[in-house]
Amino acid sequence: MGRKLLLEKAHIEGIRYYDTYRREGGYAAVEKALKMTPDEVTDQVKKSGLRGRGGAGFPTGMKWSFLAKPEGVPRYLVCNADESEPGTFKDRYLMEHIPHLLIEGLIVSSYALGSNRTYIYIRGEYAWIVDILEQAVAEAKKNGWLGNNIKGSGFNLEIYVHRGAGAYICGEETALIESLEGKRGNPRIKPPFPAVKGLWDCPTVVNNVETLAAVVPIINMGGEEYAKIGVGKSTGTKLISACGNINKPGVYEIDMTISVEEFIYSDEYCGGIANGKRLKACIPGGSSVPILPANLLLKTAKGETRMMNYESLADGGFQTGSMMGSGGFIVLDEDQCVVRHTLTLARFYRHESCGQCSPCREGTGWMEKILKNIEYGKGKMSDIDLLWDIQRRIEGNTICPLGDAAAWPVAAAIRHFRDEFEWHVTNREECLKRNYGLANYAEPIKATA
């Protein structure tokens, strides 16, 4: 059994409520942290090696230490609970089952960063979780964990839950800040970064729900102990939301030492491919990261076993690797059509682009239309190269990473499954009636780049 830090107690009856959470040892991290200096807390987070769980995997301690601290200017912590990436539903699970863990993490982190007003920006569709969180905040306040002079420490904190209006782009940290300020959720042009000029132009840290929840075990056990879990720069535990053609979809907490193969096939986790089918491909880290064919998923290009951690999933770069991303693990079996799947993603990004920059605004729509043609037997061979060209000219040329996130899935699908795209073009009638089946993944198609 892998070690659990976040979800260990998530299934205890009544843990959603303060009394049970407290009885089970909750808020001990706050008690401990308030006896430390803010810098000591930050130091523990640095030592823990914790990396951001929102997608980019940036070291959290380092991010905190970049926060500008000018005299007389308030600083803010914002918790990113916008979780809208297709395939990712780990934050929802955590907030639904054990909301006080997040509140506790927020209090400790706010103390470390000197934020007296902390916001949870939550995805609009998670309406019922707003109620859960607000109840948790009220309970915490009633018991003296929020408000003025918390437990006699002199530290003041209020937490506000702000509900988004249903835009994926508002998960991008600067769009989130704009939205929180009551404006249209367009990403800002960086620099300046939020650490210098964020919410209401004040220094701001934006962190993911899981990142902030992980601060609790870090303080409880100490940063160095936390860093011993996992491997290399992938320390601690990670929540993975697994979905697709597997026997046991759900949210799993892993310590990052298990292999991808074990994760998919063992009964402790996904329980193997559903209906006795064979594995075709997988997106290991949420819809934005490159899709991998089965052979490259289970083993790296060097023939090593691929592990469920940041480094191993990224091994081989984009040519033969992928990313840990936000931990949205989407499994495709032999009956799935990669073209259709890519079309679905392209439609999503087209719909969610904020429309500020021309490559993303126009390119995402164009890719969707071409993919639709190919999927419905109206594609041309040259369309495949055109798609490649379009994604290439979006990537890296936009304001925010949504442009990249729209380009990468298309690039990876063509890179690894070009034969399937070509089959759609050459078998216009047949592709409407049946699927291509398993790609020839014993020998992956050479990259077009």
Binding site: H351, S353, C354, G355, R361, T364, G365, R393, N397, I399
Partner: protein
Amino acid sequence: MAEEKKLFKVTIDNITIEVEPGTTILNAARMIGGDVAPPAMCYYSKLKGSGGKCRTCLVEVAQGSTADPRPMPKLVASCRTNVMDGMVVKNITSERVLDARNGVVEFLLINHPLDCPICDQAGECHLQDLSYEHGKAGTRYEFQRRTFEKHDLGPYIQLHMTRCILCYRCVYVADQVTNKRVHGVLDRGDHAEIATYIEKALDNDFIGNVIDVCPVGALTDKTFRFKNRVWFLKPVDAHRDCPKCAGKVTLWYRGDEVFRVTGRKDQWGEVHDWICNECRFEKKKTSDWVIEGPTRVSRHSVISANHYVNVAKPEEKLPQIMGRPPKITLNIHDISDVNKPEIHLSELPGPAHSDDFNK
């Protein structure tokens, strides 16, 4: 005595200049001038916060600074990136930049209606100029283009959303030049549009400026629409004592008639001063104005190819750097069968007719 400020040395397309710290790459390039200045479809120096969106001004930073000479991995928006001391920038000398810019032009055009023949902006349109210099003749887009209903924004302004490139300039004008913004961007992605929410008319003494800042024909002057092509008009600088604005404008004449009034624009197509609606829409008689003389046409465009009295073409850097002249300086008289350089279009009494050229 103020202390002498340290200047930053920046090299753009092999030309080195010194600029004040805090200058953007784009503005540094504009100081060098000519084609070294990247095209800017959304940045507008007089509008705070503008820029960064269209991505036509992307450049390559080959060396970050003297202190940190590493190149920047991605192309950067020159309008929103400040120069550092010792920075080395490649604009038209970078293959990557030209490729990306070509891509941006293609993206901007795939859903553009290309209705230049019936568009009032034609001849002074920045998208036309951009496409001419950086685009390709054909299109790879085979789908139906996006269209929107036309919107009437009150007595003076017409909105053709179909032509809009979502540069946000008109939004910034309404925010910064008028006292209340009643229009903005609704929806998102490729279905985003400029619109008014509940009020339909844009009425504010300075709202007419959105017409001048719009780089394309999305916002046009209803008092001028379909009345004349801009290249048949003769621009003349004039002023009046206006209680609301500086009153410094350009009058656009055909014969003795003033067809339209605009702000005075510099070689980057930006107005020098905002003008009020009264000057722009109501004062269309020569007697309303004190005439200063023919406008210096200093921008590359179809306009500068016309036979004006006072054409002062911007200095050219392209021949020196790339060994070819800019495409948009091509002289229409060199290739057109009907046009004749000795005929002054702006002096023809009525619409130009082929007979006028056969005399």
